[in-house]
Symmetry: D2
Subunit: 340 residues, 4 copies
Amino acid sequence: MAKKLRIGLLGAGRIGNLHGTNIQNFVPDAEVVIVADPFMNEKMEEWAKSIGISRCSKDPEDVFSAADVDAVFICSSTNTHAEFMIRAAKAGKHIFCEKPIDTEVAKINEALAEVAKAGVKLQVGFVRRFDRSHKAVRDVVASGKLGKPYVVKVCSRDPAGPPMSYVAVSGGIFTDMMIHDFDMVRYLSGSDVTEVSATGAVLTDPGYAEYDDVDTAIVTLKFENGAIGVIDNCRQAPYGYDQRVEVLCEKGAVQDNNHLENEAFISTAESVESAKPTYFFLERYNDAFVAEEKAFVDAVLNDKEVPVGGKDGLEPVRIAIAAKKSLKEGRPVKLSEIEA
Amino acid sequence: MAKKLRIGLLGAGRIGNLHGTNIQNFVPDAEVVIVADPFMNEKMEEWAKSIGISRCSKDPEDVFSAADVDAVFICSSTNTHAEFMIRAAKAGKHIFCEKPIDTEVAKINEALAEVAKAGVKLQVGFVRRFDRSHKAVRDVVASGKLGKPYVVKVCSRDPAGPPMSYVAVSGGIFTDMMIHDFDMVRYLSGSDVTEVSATGAVLTDPGYAEYDDVDTAIVTLKFENGAIGVIDNCRQAPYGYDQRVEVLCEKGAVQDNNHLENEAFISTAESVESAKPTYFFLERYNDAFVAEEKAFVDAVLNDKEVPVGGKDGLEPVRIAIAAKKSLKEGRPVKLSEIEA
Amino acid sequence: MAKKLRIGLLGAGRIGNLHGTNIQNFVPDAEVVIVADPFMNEKMEEWAKSIGISRCSKDPEDVFSAADVDAVFICSSTNTHAEFMIRAAKAGKHIFCEKPIDTEVAKINEALAEVAKAGVKLQVGFVRRFDRSHKAVRDVVASGKLGKPYVVKVCSRDPAGPPMSYVAVSGGIFTDMMIHDFDMVRYLSGSDVTEVSATGAVLTDPGYAEYDDVDTAIVTLKFENGAIGVIDNCRQAPYGYDQRVEVLCEKGAVQDNNHLENEAFISTAESVESAKPTYFFLERYNDAFVAEEKAFVDAVLNDKEVPVGGKDGLEPVRIAIAAKKSLKEGRPVKLSEIEA
Amino acid sequence: MAKKLRIGLLGAGRIGNLHGTNIQNFVPDAEVVIVADPFMNEKMEEWAKSIGISRCSKDPEDVFSAADVDAVFICSSTNTHAEFMIRAAKAGKHIFCEKPIDTEVAKINEALAEVAKAGVKLQVGFVRRFDRSHKAVRDVVASGKLGKPYVVKVCSRDPAGPPMSYVAVSGGIFTDMMIHDFDMVRYLSGSDVTEVSATGAVLTDPGYAEYDDVDTAIVTLKFENGAIGVIDNCRQAPYGYDQRVEVLCEKGAVQDNNHLENEAFISTAESVESAKPTYFFLERYNDAFVAEEKAFVDAVLNDKEVPVGGKDGLEPVRIAIAAKKSLKEGRPVKLSEIEA
């Protein structure tokens, strides 16, 4: 393997742009050598050039067949993830795949099987695991110094809802939003989820109801290790991106506060005013994206285990399916009811 | 009515002691003139004398029949609350009754009917409504300046579990502990609960299982006004009394932090260390008890509406019954299923 | 000595009222048996009666000569403190004296000499030492676990300035306000002050200049143990009573935050808003006054050392004199230049 | 002018490396085209190549004479700053100069005169002005919404002292460390300093005394606009980089807290533990360096006023000279006593 990991980028949209720019600027051990996007245009080419990516293509095959590509970053639309994983695996390329791998368990399993057969590394893009605060919480739990986890809580709210066109195809709040939190509770608890029970409401915009979706949801969970948990989501929190996690353990609790825009505060006769939370995921998880990319590059270059593997890609999808079923049927749903 | 409200105290145990001492020291417009407790002993009499209560009795009737008693504080064991309410009402005394009024809906309704008939005032002892932080949260919601409530969250954890002898008779976590939180969510949301779904686990001490109880529970709720909510309880949080509430509304969120033992903090090469939350309810809600007592005295003396009335005494009991049923049957339970 | 400490209260103004009420309500081991005030009037008598003080007098001698008075609380105007101390000492009464003992070193020394001769206990009313947060800071420093103190900082601001009539006779900002902080730095550092350098300005109200006073002052200090320090005062901070202390030591720093009115906070699209600091000394130091009173009663009843003794009463006055001299002469002033 | 600002970098040591890397990665409107360092070596050349700087030289003249250099970044040793400014100005290059310009007023004035004559832009590297929290504090003051500033406070402590070899030549704590804070108080107050009074001590390492320096210092200040202020510095705070500012104004106060390594916190039976402040200036001011560079590039490309100009480079040096004189002579020193 070359000293630097040579990367082929699949997808030059928002998330591809983010990963590509990060790798070129902040990941010294990797370089993007080619980017492919079926909608490749002048603006994308200009961007690629500006960060030193010399080859652009409309054909993903140019990435899979490139001899100088060691690994791919799959940043294309969700419905192409599984297929691209399979093609990459067959071409012997290591894989970083944005979440979710797919919305169907069977397709995920098919893709994971190819990855296993090819013996390439696969990392799934659950970026929040790399956030310095969430990671600090999880590291305390994982260290065991607080004893067994009892209660795992995640609060996750977006500053503004997505466009309804997105809601129409996203698969709903459990698949497009809470999936991050399903991953987070597995990460924090170090355990698999065995049962979920979902409650939801349409509160911020009646439009969600038209797509059989909700904008506000609370899901309680049971874990294999005996712990219980709860996640609450809202698609629209006017004060910004609310991202807080908490684990109550035998000997103490560990949690985190939001990151604020700055640490200044004003005291007046009315109140003490401080800054809001950082606005959205680009602001909050900027450093986490870089950490995620570095971890993948390190895992491949130094043949280490990836920090977020295939099962980590599958399980949140299964939990999301269970949560959707729970909300629809108005009852707790066991994970054993969901295709594995 | 006399300028000072003359109070007869029923029960000289821990909570009776607390109310009696508070009234004598901090409620200038009231005075305790008699205390009755079937287990009245020398130590209790000494305590009564030390705070200026001149009459002690083993017979509650001495309170009900006293011409110089304007109001009673019912601080006896739970199973006597409803009966004492009825006797007080019949005697024309105003009533402050510790929570819960009873664990059975029928008995509560019977007592409330007598109170209504007598036209006396009744306040139920949900003291947390008078905590300065929880009250500040609720006042913001009630002001309407943040718009409609969407999500109501309460986290409530005790520093240490009760003795198993108490668990044996308490009615379980929903009745002896979460009942405060069932009141709190009604207070915060300004709305009634329509459905609950409970999850629970025995994590801190296997002893709870013997009494068919859990020590850790999460309950999701639906409210009449469309909001949804969640409460999490644990009987044992080693770091002390964890008491936090939060309401996400249309235009913002309002929440509170724990009160700490002090505001000092130490920065070293290892960490920044601050004080723990105040230890338990006596430390956290000390001021709230006084505020509660003053509110009752003010309501009676000045013929105002009491801040926590009969329905507020009934509803949390119904929610607790529904939660217990939900946990047992593994399904969401509508409040309409519970006797009203 | 009787089981309860029997107290004679000298002065029924604001501070006498505070101590009297506290002792009757919160200090079980003490009782006020008589109160004397040259301006004794009906309202004062009513107050005394309402808290169970049966004897009221216009003549302080009634206190000094009372056989059933074990100790006095000197809460009269400053110019009477030294004289009352001397009379109390001669009468064999233990003494709690409000700060300052006097504004002149010679008079303080004279009074201290009488106290020493009589062998009675004397505690001076520097109440902030009993604040739970400041005490926690000091206890960390005193424990030695952070090593030697390097830098001691105190920020102290009042919510509103005093009436100009008070400024006219108070002796100026160093004597009427910063004197608390001069005591605080001695308490925190565990060391005496050897040199001060004062800077000041008239910023909030030009009226102060007419009395040769300032409303804003910063004083740097040197301590016998080698540490240095700084105090900043302002007579008018619109957001309330700002009371923060900080000690940088060899192995870490310890500091405190203000106590807030409550722990609620509101997050909106504009900011995160929390409550203000508690308004003024009655709100912030309420608990500290009780702790101070209990400490005195305990010291007398159980023959322990008082926590704030005669030298602690003298030194802040000397530092204030030095600071005033420094501001006037525009140079650092050594404590050795001030009468001892 | 070219679309991108073409930069010649003078000095490839720690700070040159930092600016060079930042510009190449984060400042899209600029590019470093050449770097010169008298000690240019293979490692430096490798670094330059790795970030896309094609030309390396040992001779600064190669920068001044390069036709394709629009602006220089002077990151060489302090004693060369003034000379390089003069040479750059004569060559018509815009100038970013690290602080301090020089330690002597005359040399600074000489350099500023050349800059003025050449009509090139000059920005001085007081990076803390670009920190998001300090900037937020200053913006509130500058907005005028809190009224006039009364008291300006800066606390600045390093996690560990510099090597004694540095202390030997640095000019002492006021010149090598507090100079940042002298700039900060001017920035926060929007006013010039008129008088300083310094106190200092050798507490962390007796070695400082050998170089006639102190490791801990407190300086009080008077400002032209009537405000007063105080700065405290310590060369060694074991808990990391302590960077806090505060301005008390007519209608309120505005201040900031340290940035922490993360926002997680652990609650146990002992305490609540959170992360430490970010370790040192590279961690705390990383984003500020980029903001500073962007501001310079923007000022040159779009002919705007630079945010930190020549006078801002001169004044902190004058204040440092005054502080040093104050400490030595044990008296307040007026800025009018110092060469202007």
